[in-house]
């Protein structure tokens, strides 16, 4: 080791920290800027609000992380949330009086989760049926998005459903710290599954190199299908938390959630091509995006102009990911 390489390594270490902790630094930077610009940003109630909002959408993002770890993509999650929301609320409306409040809540939650799981399985099996790659995955899930959102609209006739039977337990799901605790608990479980179980390792392996995984005897098709199923389950849970907050459901509830979810997952640092990343990254990504969205709202940026930010953030996140990868390859080849 000569002195020259040591100074080089200091610089390399700094860029490495910047690259690996870039999201965290970005988060802190946004918080500082927003609290300077607007004093009401850094209050306890606003921060709790951000966390509460982040937790509903965040659970969806865990599912999307699984899908993107395999190198896939699911554009139908938003409309799956819509469908599960309208079904959950209408189940409670219809059977609330007969069954009693505790049972009907269980029933509605089960209905939403099973429905989400089924939609996910359909997605997965369509993609796997003829060994679809990223292009086909994109178009199939886009087609499913149109179909599922049409189903949600047909189910309600285009109307929004107000909950007429409001059990206390259901509303409790979105009060105070409950959604935040749910978010972190589910996140911890998902993290353990993805990082420490054979199933999780296989998911990452498929994303890193699908052909190689297939040749090593991993059941690629069933794992890919199951991953979309998990994503559907997360959509069901998100639907329940989102509807419990306002206790009503709209067939357009989840429109655009898929873009937010993809953005959060990619900002967190899960690669668009799969293989690297994880649930912890996604939690950071979710926090960055919700803090940014809230900051833009508090500062007073127009909702339409926020679309511009959202598109730019997706591009920047993916650009950073590609840059990161190419510099890693350079480092490895040195």
């Amino acid at each position: 080791m000569t002195g020259e390489s040591r100074t080089g390594s200091v610089r390399a270490r700094i860029t490495k920290i910047l690259r690996n902790q870039g999201v965290l630094i970005g988060l802190i930077f946004i918080i500082i800027v927003a609290s300077i610009l607007e004093h009401s940003f850094l209050t306890m109630s606003n921060l709790l609000n951000i966390l509460r909002q982040a937790s509903a959408i965040g659970i969806l993002d865990f599912g999307v992380t699984f899908v993107m770890m395999t190198g896939g993509m699911d554009l139908s999650v938003g409309s799956t949330v819509s469908l599960c929301s309208v079904v959950a609320v209408s189940v409670m409306n219809r059977y609330g009086q007969d069954v009693g409040s505790d049972d009907v809540v269980m029933f509605a939650i089960l209905a939403a989760i099973i429905l989400g799981f089924l939609v996910g399985l359909i997605n997965g099996s369509l993609i796997v049926a003829f060994n679809g790659r990223i292009g086909e995955t994109f178009i199939i899930t886009y087609g499913m998005q149109i179909v599922v959102s049409a189903l949600a609209l047909l189910y309600t006739g285009g109307h929004f459903i107000a909950g007429t039977f409001a059990p206390g337990i259901y509303q409790w799901l979105s009060t105070g710290f409950v959604p935040i605790i749910l978010f972190f608990t589910i996140g911890a479980i998902m993290h353990v599954i993805l990082a420490y179980t054979p199933f999780g390792k296989q998911v990452s392996f498929i994303g890193a190199n699908m052909d190689c995984a297939k040749m090593s005897g991993i059941k690629v098709n069933s794992i890919r299908t199951l991953v979309y199923g998990i994503c559907g389950i997360c959509a069901g849970i998100t639907a329940i938390i989102v509807t419990s907050r306002v206790y009503s459901a709209s067939p357009l509830q989840g429109n655009g959630y898929e873009l937010d979810a993809m953005a959060a997952v990619m900002v967190g640092g899960t690669s668009q091509t799969g293989g690297t990343g994880g649930i912890a990254n996604t939690i950071l990504g979710v926090l960055v995006l919700s803090v940014l969205g809230n900051a833009l709202n508090v500062i007073g940026v127009d909702a339409n102009a926020q679309l511009l930010f959202r598109g730019a953030i997706i591009l920047i996140a993916v650009g950073l990911d590609v840059w990161n990868k190419s510099s890693n390859i350079k480092e490895a080849s040195k």
Binding site: M73, L126, A129, F130, N131, G132, R133, I134, G135, E136, F138, I139, I140, Y142, G143, M144, Q145, I146, V147, S149, A150, L151, L153, L154, G158, L259, M262, M266, Q272, T273, D302, N304, A305, Q306, L307, L308, F309, R310, G311, A312, I314, L315, V318, G319, V322, S326
Partner: protein, 323 residues
């Protein structure tokens, strides 16, 4: 090249190449039996107008898919072209400058898309998803979500022009289709799109500037989206973010029905035109049969999924045959 010829001679490929024609004929016969009034001249003329406007973009999508890329932002570009063109027309009477500005803006958006995909090496789906969101945001900021309309004399004249019973749109489309088909089939520039999409490594080793080819494909797409947007303005004398939200996916569906593989390297703009005819006739038939709007969406989504499944199935058959 020789494998292409060898494949072409086989029976299955013959059927694949002409599937779109069979579907079209079958569909027309079906509609003639169920609703004979569907095939009146008035209705056919309307269908042709829609085919012309969407078909212009479908030509660009065909070139992009041939060169192995994809553009989800087509519908946003189309909206932006409408809005830009209308607002320019409201400032000045002479249509020449607005037309040029709209074309240049389409070209620029295409070049930006192409450079992001080729230079930063980001997957074209995600790139165009990002630019789609951004351009849509730009349109909404620009118009506040409202419709913009114009009363320009030139636009009116183009919109109402007819020759041998067919509107001006049809002739514009015909010219674009023929020119692009000739470029694709008979020029070196056009053949390089096939080479780039077929196998990018081989194309690069053979000395083709693949970055230029892909950026060119995106730029052509941008210009064609601008042309289509201006055609819609000529037809409706208005522009809005509500017009053409399904454009990108209709174009993909038309291209794939026309027998262009999503994996790139093969395809043909003329067959895409037939595919577009099938798609637009299907949409019109759904309205004509009196289906509720939500059912129409359901059918559109299902068609998209079926088309992709068909494409995957056929490419697998081909792989089996090559073995």
């Amino acid at each position: 090249m020789s494998t292409r010829k060898a494949n072409r001679s086989s029976f299955l490929n013959l059927i694949v190449d002409y599937t779109v024609l069979f579907i079209l004929i079958g569909f027309i016969v079906f509609m003639a039996m169920v609703k004979p009034s569907f095939l009146t001249w008035w209705n056919i003329k309307n269908i042709l107008i829609d085919v012309s406007i969407y078909g212009v973009v479908a030509c660009g999508m065909t070139i992009l898919i041939i060169s192995g890329e994809f553009d989800l932002s087509a519908s946003s570009q189309y909206m932006w072209a409408q809005i830009l063109f209308v607002s320019m027309l409201n400032i000045m009477k002479n249509p020449l400058v607005p037309i040029l500005v709209t074309l240049v803006s389409g070209l620029l958006i295409g070049i930006i898309n192409g450079l992001i995909v080729t230079k930063l090496r980001i997957n074209s789906f995600i790139t165009t998803l990002g630019t789609m969101t951004m351009i849509r945001g730009l349109c909404l900021v620009f118009t506040n979500g409202k419709m913009v309309s114009t009363n320009n004399a030139f636009v009116k004249a183009v919109g109402s022009f007819e020759f041998i019973g067919l509107s001006s749109f049809f002739y514009i489309y015909l010219i674009i289709l023929v020119v692009l088909s000739i470029i694709l089939e008979y020029t070196n520039f056009g053949r390089r799109f096939y080479a780039t999409g077929g196998n990018i490594e081989v194309a690069r080793l053979a000395g083709i500037n693949t970055i230029f080819q892909k950026t060119a494909a995106f730029s052509i797409m941008g210009v064609l989206c601008s042309i289509a947007g201006m055609m819609l303005v000529a037809q409706l004398r208005a522009g809005s973010t509500q017009y053409g939200t399904d454009l990108s996916l209709s174009c993909v569906a038309a291209t794939v029905i026309g027998g262009t593989r999503l994996s790139g390297g093969s395809g043909n703009a003329l067959r895409t035109a037939l595919g577009m005819l099938v798609i637009v006739m299907l949409y019109k038939a759904l309205v004509y049969l009196g289906l509720q709007a939500y059912y129409q969406n359901l059918v559109k989504g299902l068609v998209l999924i079926l088309v992709v499944m068909f494409d995957l199935f056929m490419s697998q058959q081909r792989k089996v045959m090559v073995r």
